[in-house]
Symmetry: C2
Subunit: 201 residues, 2 copies
């Protein structure tokens, strides 16, 4: 086995780069147009961006990355089509690069989409390299409860539900907490709208 | 803030339970029928199973969980519809339960789907609670290279590509390695088939 190839060897960055890699799924024959249209509506002046065959990646300051992902998701919602957004927010990987980022000088968000619609959501939070990771997970679960977003515990994820704005505000709060307390972390979320499956529990 | 509610407090299990929580996305107007049909084709005699509005969960011995998820994905492929599978394989969570599992006595898989088609894939591996987590990630990335599945490094994930059988064999190998070497871990994967986006890089 090859032993001298570590893609991250000698890498890592001290820059304030939060990233999000997200994949949009549109349960419709017209998925290509809907995804491209959503992506094109986002003001990308404050994030670095790249789209490949699997995902789109935004990199920049936390608040602008969350603002851009939220804008894309909000733009996609036509109030009828079942759409999911799978997103991995992350910061601090020892293999991260100094490149591929836009770091705005201010925190004035440029998208600021305000629309209200209900979202079903699952999240999993992975603080890496620390033994007390369950304490950090406990913190963010309690935060969801406090904000009235917690639906129930499930295997391998916590289920949340709430208004799209409240959920993205919560993601930003989780990432702000993580930024202060953990060197390397991942927040994995899946958002679902207009699903034909209704649950009462 | 409520401080006495930790859903996992006093939990954890010594049982040999690997789980997978996965979400299927079918980019077609007929997504409901295709997803339900895929799920119904799987022999579930050797895994515990539950489907909610966001995902399906299988829990049991590693080899049977991988066999069942693979069967579902293979059954879904009609050779034309763009489909993605987002899956979180996990074992060892301190909040896991003794309940909700089927633990077969043997390793004789009951689905054994053999079909050949190309899959584009991204993976991220999260060993939890250990400082040497990057070494474990290095191991599984090298394993993908050795098996000829590695496409390229990207932000927040490694991209793989290969035949569906080779990829699921690789997932099983990664989870077998993790089972031996790490108490709690997550393998997050997204598989994509029949995408209209073609890439040369």
């Amino acid at each position: 086995m090859q032993t001298n190839h570590y893609p991250w060897k000698g890498c890592g960055t001290d820059k304030d780069i939060t990233g999000c890699r997200f994949s949009l799924s549109v349960m419709s024959d017209h998925y290509v147009e809907q995804i491209l249209n959503g992506l094109q509506q986002v003001n990308l002046s404050k994030v670095w961006h790249h789209t490949d065959a699997l995902s789109t990646i935004y990199r920049g300051k936390r608040i602008h990355v969350v603002d851009a992902v939220k804008a894309c998701f909000v733009e996609m919602n036509d109030e009828s089509t079942h759409i999911t957004l799978e997103a991995c927010f992350s910061k601090g990987c020892p293999g991260d690069l100094d490149e591929d980022h836009v770091l705005a000088r201010d925190d004035n968000t440029v998208n600021n989409r305000i629309r209200h619609f209900p979202v079903l959501c699952k999240i999993a939070f992975y603080p890496l390299g620390v033994e007390d990771y369950m304490d950090h997970i406990a913190y963010i679960v309690r935060l969801a409860m406090e904000k009235g977003l917690y639906k129930n515990v499930s295997h391998y994820a916590s289920e949340l539900q709430g208004d799209v704005n409240a959920l993205f505000d919560y993601f930003n709060d989780v990432l702000a907490y993580a930024e202060k307390n953990i060197n390397h972390y991942v927040l994995q979320v899946t958002l679902s709208i207009n699903s034909p499956t209704k649950e009462d529990n």
